[in-house]
Structure formats: structure tokens, C-alpha cells
Symmetry: C2
Subunit: 717 residues, 2 copies
């Protein structure tokens, strides 16, 4: 899949067009630019908040309606209920996979590896298009509403990034939704900042965790970070939180159907365990280790699954993908309906009127103690409580305090094994899929299991199984995603309880360390598999012994003269795959001189527009002359997430082919250079930290014109 991947240019190309553009900009423009930047941050926040609300309301309504219908039918016949349940799930999943395979293939999966790649400097074709956004929103509703073992949180990150990127190009040009006034962000660099905001907005919307969103953008997805950006990213996250809060407030009055206290993740467990004792640290450490092991295993299994799918299954076309997803939906329905049927019901515990927990829960409500296939009225089915439920409610039940002994160890273990398997199998199907919520499900299950043993053996009064479930959730996410601070903050924000911060930290430290002993985080593994060439922040160890010259190989450099024949340009573009070409000029004394780098995309623009063609093979004007070039800076701006022009779209007559172009005004006059024997470590740092696309390897200099030190860079306004 390397063919659809292209590098981004985060460097500013300081060609004549750029300088002219800069010179024209007055103080007013700078002000306008700042205003638009913040206005976009606001819009990203509002857009992502609204998209998240829409998805949540839809999912809760579909799921609520589904469970309501099923519960009413099973009063008469469990078989009919099962069929209805299965068919509704199938219909939802089918709609999702159909949309994805037919209209928006780039919207499959979580999208986080792709966004990570984008922010690392590689553009994967199609991931930030308008149709991807729409596909992701609608697909998420189907796949999550259809009860698959996946979540809607990862997709929200992708949705936020899409919204940001679309705003960055001033709307979608294809669908005529664009506005010239908003097209101020012409470089990949500006768009990168917007997409960073979008990612944070996505997490903030998914978990109602604004600080977590900022940290997620910082720790997991971005590769470059400026501290000014923090402020804007934070603003976006705050807006999302406000929008989500407002939309939930609006829904409280019952306008949104089944969407009530469920939906938006926030499992308030502030009435949980008050304090913890020293001895409890041991079982908690065990949870951390289990999380690391199961998380690493999850990464490994999904890696095998995905590579198998890529190499065999998904090669056979869209139909196979559709069948696969539908099959998995059927299996999921069978297991989640069937397994609770096999489970014997337990009698309700003596109810404590203070806790407000009823057993069994009244029909049509959310809550613990589901009565499902029980012979008596005051019984409940503990497996159905977690399995035959939406994931949000299941997690709420697993996290719940004051419900000691609600679940039997056997049920939890059954659920753990089955759900883990389902999550592994579901991962990689052609539907939008997040790993956060399934991860929390898995983690909280074994967390609660450990909690049960603690309650049994430590015989302390104030231990809550819900707290252990929370720690388990943190540990599994840590073991799989390998985030730390972010997860810590997200877990605290969703559980609304600061007391557990040190415990969550302990668990995350362990689970990450254990997981790292086996493999990389799930997003890195997936990115590697998808052929997204991520550059890590640290150079590889072997690079210390390599030089720049060794790295760039023995290939002859394909370069262009300053004034070049159109036919030559065409043949070079046709015969090579490179995206940048050094431009070499001759001084009067006959020596050669590297005057810059010209990009393939810019050459294509020049060839298409033809206005710069000239008959003479001599430079039209000395460099630095005041000739106004016939191009606007924005003509060179690449459309977001698309390949731009290609050679096939350009038609040149044979007269044209005999003309010349003076490249001087269009090249990047000073790309970064490194001497040939610089160690690759240093070259890597330069490339990675500045987000470059091309570096010239040149011979050692003959003399030093000057030195730049800190003093030279301290210019006061």
C-alpha cells in the first residue's frame, strides 16, 4: 500500500510567490489570520461536539429501541425475541459496512493510526475527505448500534480530524461547500495544527474529558508540538465540552428519545471506595501485570488477524468484507443472547433502599440486576447484566459500587473470554471501530474479578469491586495502547474521582512496562501493518555509525538546470518517481551552484498553466529582479488529502515542448543541507524535529562565512 502514501511538506517553501504573498500582507492580514485561526478552533469544537452528540443520540436510540423491542417480545417467546434482536443488529451492521465499502473505504477502522501518520508527515490518500467524514459518522452509528464489540471513541478522533482538515481547506471543493474567505491555511503546516486540534476535540467529545483530549493529542498523535498550540488545542477541547454539555442538557427534557443518562461516557464513581490500604497495592499491581499481558496479547492477535485479512480475505473485494461483517454480527448476537440463556439466575440480594438500586431493575430502564430468562420475579441474570446490554451500560454496571457479589466469578470469566475473542475478531472488519470501549469492557471485567477475590480474602469493609474494575480498565488500555498520562487523566475524568489517581498511575506504570516487553502499542503496530512509515522520535541505534552519504545510497541525483526545456521536465517527471529535484545553475566562471529544490507538484502546476513558458533558453531576469510572476501563492497549495495534479492531466503541444521555463522564481531557494559525513543520527534529528521532506547531502564547505549563536538570534522587536 505504499503507493497511496506520500510525504507532507511541513517546511515553508520560500519561493518568490511566497515572498510576494508575504510582502502584500499588512498588519491587518496578520490580525485576520489570528482571528480565523481561533474561529476555526471554535468551529472544530462545535462541529466535533455536534457530531459526537448526533452519533450518541442515534446509537442510544437504535440500541434502546432494539432492547425495548426485544424485551417486550421475549415476554412471549424467547425465540422470536432472539430473531428480532439478531435481525436488527444485522441490519445496522450491514448498513454500516455497506456505506464503508461502497462510499468511504478510508473510514474503516479507528483512523487513529492514519491520523498519527498524517501528523508524522505522511499523507494517506482519502483519509481526510468529506465523504470519509460522512462515512465515519454514519458507519459508527451502525456498527456501535448493531452491538459489535467495538466503540465509537476512536472514530470520533478521526471525525474531529476530518472536520478540522475540511475547515482548513475552506470547505470541500468537490461538493462546492467551500468559501474563499476561509482559505487562509494553504500550507500543510497550518493544516497540521488544525488536525491536532481536531484530534483533541475528538477525545474530548468521546470521554467528556477536555484535559485528556489535550494530552491525547500531545502524547499519542502529534509528532511536533509547539507550546502555543497547547492553548488553542485546549480551547477547542473546552468548546467541545461545553457543546456536549449543552446538548445533553437539551436532551434531559426527553426530546432525544432513548438518549438519557446513558450515552456519553461518564461513569461517575465518586461514591466509590473512600480510601485504600497498603495491602491492596498487591492485587492492584497484579491487575497492572494482567493488563500488560492481555494488552500485548491483544495487539499481537489483532496484528495477525489484520495481516491475514489484508493478505487473503480483503483482497477478494467488497462483497467479502460485507459478508464478513454480517457474519460477525450474527455470531455476536448469538453469543450475547445465547450465553445468558445458559446461565442460571441468582436471587436478588436484600435490597438497601438508600442505594437506590432496584433488583430486578424495572423493565425499560437502565441499571444493574437484569431479569432475563429467570424463573422467578425476584431473580436476576448476572451475565445478561453485562452481556445483553449496550456497552456503556455494561461498563456502568461493572464499575458500580455498592453492588458487591452482584456478579459471579464464573459469569465474569465467561464474559471475559467471549468478549475478548469477539473484540479480536471484530477488529479489522470494514466498519468504523474504536478500541477504547471494548478495552474498558475487557479490563473492567478482570478488574472486577480480582476485586471479588480481594473482597473475599482481605475481608475489609470499604473495598469496592467497582474500583478494581476501574483499575482493570486502565490497565488493559495501558497494556494495549501504551499511553500513560493521557489514560490516567481520561480515567480520572470519566470516573470523576481524583482519589484514585495514584492507583491508576501504579497500574499504568506496570501494564505499560509489561506490554512494552512484548510488542509496540496497538496504533504503532497497526500503522506499520498499513504501510504508514512513521518516524519515531528517537533515531535508531545503528544510525550512529552511518553517515548521511551512506543513507542516501548510490543512486545518481536527478537534478534540473535553472532554465529547463519543457520536454526535459516532462521526460524527467515521467521517468522518475521522485518528488523533489535539486536545481543547479552555472556561475559566469563556469562553476556549478545548487540554487534550490523544486517540487514535482510545483512543476506540474507550471506545466499545466503554461504562463511561464519562454522561448529563450536564458534566464528571463536575474534572480532577485522585480519581475512579477504570473502565479498566486495559492495555486501551489496542494488540495488536502488528494494527490493533486498528475502527468496524465497535462496536455502539451509539440510547440510547448520546445519552450523553456526559468525555475528560479518557483524553487525553494534554501532547503536544509547536511555535509556528507554527518552521522545519520543528527540527520534524523534534523529531519524529524523540523518535519522535513527533503534534505540535501552536500560536500563539506570550503570556508565558514560566519557563525550563528544565541546572541545573533536575540532580535528585539
Amino acid at each position: 500500500g505504499g503507493s497511496t502514501v506520500e510525504s507532507l511538506d511541513y517546511e515553508v517553501i520560500e519561493n518568490y510567490a511566497y515572498r510576494e504573498e508575504q510582502a502584500q500582507r499588512g498588519k491587518l492580514y496578520v490580525g485576520y489570520y489570528v482571528v480565523v485561526k481561533w474561529f476555526f478552533a471554535l468551529l472544530i469544537g462545535i462541529g466535533t461536539g455536534l457530531a459526537a452528540s448526533f452519533i450518541n443520540i442515534s446509537v442510544e436510540n437504535f440500541a434502546g429501541w432494539k432492547f425495548e423491542l426485544t424485551f417486550s417480545i421475549i415476554q412471549k417467546s424467547y425465540l422470536a425475541g432472539f430473531l428480532v434482536y439478531l435481525l436488527i443488529n444485522l441490519a445496522l451492521v450491514f448498513s454500516s459496512v455497506y456505506i464503508i465499502t461502497q462510499f468511504a473505504p478510508a473510514a474503516a477502522g479507528s483512523g487513529i493510526p492514519e491520523i498519527k501518520g498524517y501528523l508524522n508527515g505522511v499523507d494517506i490518500h482519502g483519509i481526510l475527505l468529506f465523504r470519509t467524514l460522512i462515512g465515519k459518522i454514519l458507519g459508527s452509528i451502525g456498527s456501535v448500534g448493531g452491538g459489535l464489540a467495538l466503540g465509537k471513541e476512536g472514530p470520533l478522533v478521526h471525525i474531529g480530524a476530518c472536520i478540522a482538515s475540511l475547515l482548513g481547506q475552506g470547505g470541500s471543493t468537490k461538493y462546492h461547500l467551500s468559501s474563499r474567505w476561509l482559505q487562509v491555511f494553504k500550507s500543510d503546516r497550518d493544516r497540521r495544527d488544525l488536525v491536532t486540534c481536531g484530534c483533541a476535540a475528538g477525545v474530548s467529545a468521546a470521554f467528556r474529558a477536555p484535559v485528556g483530549g489535550v494530552l491525547f493529542a500531545l502524547e499519542e498523535v502529534t509528532s511536533w508540538w509547539r507550546s502555543q498550540l497547547m492553548w488553542r488545542v485546549f480551547f477547542t477541547s473546552a468548546i467541545v465540552a461545553v457543546v456536549v454539555r449543552t446538548s445533553m442538557g437539551w436532551c434531559k427534557s426527553g426530546k432525544c428519545g432513548h438518549f438519557g443518562s446513558g450515552g456519553f461516557i461518564i461513569w461517575d464513581i465518586s461514591d466509590g471506595q473512600e480510601d485504600y490500604s497498603f495491602e491492596e497495592l498487591f492485587p492492584m499491581a497484579i491487575i497492572g501485570v494482567i493488563g500488560g499481558l492481555l494488552g500485548a496479547l491483544f495487539n499481537q492477535l489483532t496484528l495477525y488477524m489484520t495481516s491475514w485479512r489484508r493478505n487473503y480475505l480483503h483482497k477478494k473485494g467488497a462483497r467479502v468484507k460485507i459478508i464478513e461483517a454480517c457474519l460477525i454480527s450474527v455470531i455476536t448476537s448469538v453469543i450475547s443472547f445465547g450465553l445468558p440463556l445458559l446461565r442460571k439466575c441468582s436471587p436478588c440480594p436484600e435490597s438497601d433502599p438508600d442505594s437506590g438500586i432496584e433488583c430486578p431493575r424495572p423493565p425499560g430502564m437502565y441499571g444493574n440486576y437484569v431479569n432475563f430468562y429467570c424463573s422467578k420475579d425476584n431473580e436476576y441474570n448476572d451475565l445478561a447484566t453485562i452481556f445483553f446490554n449496550t456497552q456503556d451500560d455494561a461498563i456502568r454496571n461493572l464499575f458500580s459500587a455498592k453492588t458487591i457479589h452482584e456478579f459471579s466469578a464464573q459469569s465474569l470469566l465467561t464474559f471475559l473470554v467471549m468478549f475478548y475473542t469477539l473484540a479480536v475478531v471484530t477488529f479489522g472488519t470494514a466498519v468504523p471501530a474504536g478500541q477504547f470501549v471494548p478495552g474498558i469492557m475487557i479490563g473492567s471485567t478482570y478488574g472486577r474479578l480480582v476485586g471479588m477475590f480481594v473482597v473475599k480474602f482481605y475481608k475489609k469493609l470499604n473495598i469496592e469491586e467497582g474500583t478494581y474494575a476501574l483499575l482493570g480498565a486502565a490497565s488493559f488500555l495501558g497494556g494495549s495502547m501504551r499511553m500513560t498520562v493521557t489514560l490516567c487523566v481520561i480515567m480520572v475524568e470519566i470516573s470523576n474521582n481524583l482519589k484514585f489517581l495514584p492507583l491508576i498511575m501504579l497500574v499504568l506504570l506496570l501494564s505499560k512496562a509489561v506490554g512494552d516487553a512484548f510488542n509496540e502499542g496497538i496504533y504503532e503496530e497497526q500503522a506499520r501493518l498499513k504501510g504508514i512509515p512513521l518516524l519515531e522520535s528517537r533515531p535508531k541505534y545503528e544510525m550512529r555509525k552511518m553517515t548521511a552519504k551512506e543513507a542516501c545510497g548510490t543512486q545518481k541525483v536527478v537534478s534540473l538546470p535553472r532554465v529547463v526545456k519543457v520536454a526535459d521536465v516532462v521526460s524527467i517527471l515521467r521517468s522518475s518517481e521522485h518528488n523533489g529535484f535539486p536545481v543547479i545553475d552555472h556561475t559566469r566562471s563556469g562553476e556549478t551552484l545548487v540554487i534550490g529544490l523544486v517540487l514535482r507538484s510545483h512543476l506540474l502546476v507550471l506545466l499545466q498553466s503554461k504562463v511561464d513558458f519562454q522561448h529563450s533558453p536564458l534566464p528571463s531576469d536575474p534572480i532577485g529582479g522585480s519581475r512579477s510572476i504570473g502565479h498566486n501563492f495559492s495555486e501551489f497549495a496542494k488540495p488536502v488529502s488528494s494527490k493533486g495534479l498528475s502527468m496524465d492531466e497535462i496536455h502539451l503541444s509539440s510547440d510547448d515542448m520546445e519552450m523553456y521555463i526559468d525555475l528560479a522564481p518557483f524553487l525553494n531557494p534554501s532547503p536544509y543541507v547536511v555535509p556528507e559525513d554527518m552521522s545519520l543520527t543528527k540527520v534524523y534529528n534534523l529531519f524529524r524535529q523540523l518535519g522535513l521532506r527533503h534534505i540535501f547531502v552536500v560536500p563539506r564547505a570550503a570556508r565558514v562565512i560566519g557563525l550563528i549563536t544565541r546572541k545573533d538570534l536575540l532580535i528585539e522587536d
Copy 2:
């Protein structure tokens, strides 16, 4: 003060000594290095946690004992009580200022601007020494215990950084506390990472806010950040939190004297306001604006004060500094004791036995409703409640919920004006001083004032003045320090209440925006004043139009030949101030070639050791030969925070002067180079993002040997 400032070398000098060192390192060494790194992170956490506990316990004991004594004496005579109060304060402040002026001048102030400078790449002499650490710890106890209008939080950041840096050099060499085994961190780069951990540890210890600590390091102090670092910084912060928690638990049993629930900042206001209505956003926005205005004013006033002090007062020597601090102590005592005397007492409100708040508070206890100079027993003095108290307790009282109408507007206003003035005047005296707690005091005062008006005019039941005090505190800190995410997280962590997150965000957004309209943040302003040349993350606007050549001026480059006469080295080092010199060699064909950069500090080491002196003026060996050089890599390592060798310490005979040195093995063979006409913006980015010290400006290259792209850097292990 520019003479004591020197740049740090974050770049790895890849000379022969370094390469030999690298070659010798086996897999085992790499493992050892990682273990030591994490072990140091642990030690930094433990050390900072213990230092913070020690300071807190001492301060609380001094202050508690002081107030106890005073309260017991004023039962008989207010005059005698006042004298005792004044003298104890004076003694404490005197001890602090004496220690600072005589033993550890670098420990004065908050230290945050200096640490910021260090992490930006400039070393200020003496800030990370062992004596600075001790001075800071003891000085903080005196100045905070002595009741000055300053806090101990800023100093804790400096303390954390000192501990980290001392560990990084393997102990203090001067005091023979060092260990060879721990001296694995020889470069400024490794030390930078440790100091970053130390900063986070400081904030984590100060506020018991581990996530806040990480964010503080990230947002405020560091200039470079790697995502791997986050993990280690987070670990350190977590350790601090655990250590502090343990030491507090140990003190609970009464072993620590007056140190009880007071001390470590954590103003739990989780029993505060439950919800907020839309109309409340307006007064909250007003708080944000006030915070911005007062914060910017504070920065401006302290700037004037500090520059006046530097230019006039402190030039006159240590004695003036001591007198100044003592005078301010006396004034502070007079005001904090005297003003409450002038205030008429109010009758106690009808007590609500549920709230657990007694009025007046029992003698010798902490709490609201202080009975001070009241004629009746069931009266309290609202001004004394905040003024005649430790700052921690005063803030707790200002934040307290369920105490509506405790403070009169008049008292709050008096306190605000007086304390603001005291804080401005105290800032810049020669004692360790933090701005967090005074900032929270000021902010919560006007916040509570606004809260009182809201309670009065909105006539809602669930409004708590304490909530407004919290928002006020956030707004003032935001207006003065201009941090955002960090402050938000710290405020949430210290108030232990997540519900106010969006409100704090709103307030911070406003106060930072308003403050930014006037001046820079307090740390930037102070750094500028102290002559610390911080490089901002964004290049200046004018740099777009400048080239590298213009920036480095017209000065002739001082360079060295490859084999250089000792006498020439000496004369060049004597005659120039530069710290780096290009080394120029001649090829056989007579052309010149820049072969690297040699640092002044390395030349000094060579001159001192003399082992590399040779009689022949020819290269001793072709470059790349296998001659083993007579130096260990660690000899070139600069001692932390000290100037290293100077010319005066080196004694050379006249025979020595006639010898030669071959510099080839000791130079940095490939410093980063830029072509002469690269725009200064790009040069700036290179310098700032990679943390460089020298860049060579060279002529344009004659040819391109190769291109480096992403593909070339994707080397699989």
C-alpha cells in the same frame, strides 16, 4: 549580568573520544544506562518529596508555634503579643535572608525563570549547585514561616531541579558526595531531561498535583520535549505524590507537631457548589477579566520594582538586602496584626451543627471565624480570619463553602489592597519566594468579593462564595503566569473537584487573553530582566526578511588550522570571547576544507592535560586512523552549572608554547550548517528546535551528493 550566562551544548559532540566511548559500550551498558535513568527518576521523586515534606513540616511548626504563642499572650496583652509576633517573624526572615545573601545568592527568588533559562539552553552560574539547594530549603522555611507575602511552591520547583542536576553529575564533587558509578550522564542533554523531571517533581510536591506537575514541566519550563520523556516525568511525579502521601500519613499520628491537616496544599472543596446556571457565567467572565488586569498589573509593577532594586538598592551589597528584607518583615507584621485590630468584630452566625464549623473557632485550632480583639465571646474578626493566619489556612477559609456572609466586602477589599501591595513589595527581596500562593490569596479574595455580589443579586440558593474564590485564584494566576492547561489541572487537583473544569477554563481563557494584551508572563518578564536570553518557540516576524549571513554580522571568523601551535591557541583564546571555533584544513590540492568545530572548553582541557602536544606541525595520523587518543570522554564533560576551566588556571612553559596540537580527534566533525542566504526564520527553527549552540554559515554548495527523504530514514532493526 550577561557575563555569568553561558550557552549549553545540547548537541552531541561526535568527536573521537565520544565514538570510542560509544564503541566500548556493549548491550549491558545500554541496559545499565536505562536502569540508572529510571533509578534517578525514582530518586528525584523521593528527594523532592522528602524536601517538600521537610519544608512543610518546618513551616507549619514554626508558624503554628508562633500563632499559638501570640494567641496565648494576647489573652493578657495585645502589645506584648504583637511584639512577640513581630520578633519571631523578624528572626525567621532574618535567618532566611542571611543564609541567602551569605551562602547561596543564587537561591533568591523563585528560581523558575532561571530553570526555564537552563532548559532553554542557557546556564546561569550557580543555580544548580548543592549550596543553592540547601539555601533554598532553609531560606524557604524562614521566609514562609516568617509570614511574608510569598509562597514555597516556586522554590520547590527549583529544589526539584537542583536535586535532579546533582544526581545527574553523580553527587556534588565539591563536597565529596559524588559516586563514580552514577556518573553516566555526561552531556548537557541528559541533564536537561533530569532537570525536566525535577521541575515536574517540584510542582507535584508543592500542590500534590502529579498531572499538573507534568503539564507544568511541559507547558511552562521546557523548550524541548520528547514523548518518551513524558513517561519518565510522569513516573517521577507519581513517586512524589506517594512520598508526600506517606509522610503525611506518618504525621497523622501527631509525630510532626503542628503539622496536621494544614500544610500541603489541598483545599478540598468537593462539598462546594453542585451546579451552576447560565447567568452565573457573566460574573465568572468578569472574574476572568479582573484576573487578567490585576495579573498584568502585578507583572508590570514587579518588573519596575525588580529593575529598580537591581539598579539601585541591591548594588549596595548584602547588608542592604538584609535590611530591606527585615524592614518588609516588620511592615508585614504590623499590617497583618494591626489591621484586624481596627476592624469591628461581627457576631457569630447561627451555627449549623451539621457543617462542623464552629464560631468562634476553638483556640489553637485551624478554621474559620477567628476571635481576635473582640469584646464578646461569640464574635469573630473576619479580617483576622484571613490576615492573621498562615496563607494556607487563609486560603482554606476563603475557599470554604457553607460560610456565606462570613466576610464583609470591606474586609475583603482592605485585605486585597494591602496584600497585593505587600506581594508586589516583597517580590524581588533576597529570599526564596514563590508567586503561586500569594497569587491564589489575591485571586480568591476578589473572587469571593464577586461571589458575594452574586449571592446578593442573583438570590439563588446553591451559589457558594468559595467557588468564586477558586475561580478568582485561577484567574489571577492565569493573568500573571499565563499558563493555561497546567493551571487548570492544578486548580482541579488542589480543589479535588472536577465539576468546575469548564468554569476554570473559561476564566483562564479570558484572563490570559486580557493579560497578553498588556505584557508577557511573569516568568518571561523576570527572565528578560535578569538577562537570561530565552529563545521563544516562534521566530520573530522580522526574521523572514533577513538571511543567515546578515544575522552573523561582519565580524571576521576566528578559526583554527587542523594542526595548531599551542601559542596560537593561547593567544586566540585570550584575545577572543568566542566559545567555538571552526577548524580549517587544507587538501593536497591546496583547497581549504572546513573539518569541524572545536569548543573553547575542549581546547582548555587539551591545554591543561598537555598529553596531546606534539613536536611536528604535521597531522599525527590521517583522520580516521586507529590511534587511540589519550582522553576519556568524561574529561570533556563540563561540570554542572559552573564555568569549568579558565585560561588563568592553565600554566604552560615556553617549551609547551612551541609545541603543536592536532585538533582532528577532538573536534565536532559535523556541526549543522546553513547556506548563507537561508532566511533567518529557518535558521532560527533549526537552532531552537534542535537546541544548538553554534551553526556554521557556509557558501552555497556546488553539487548535491544525494537527497535524504523519509524512505532513507526508515531503517528496520
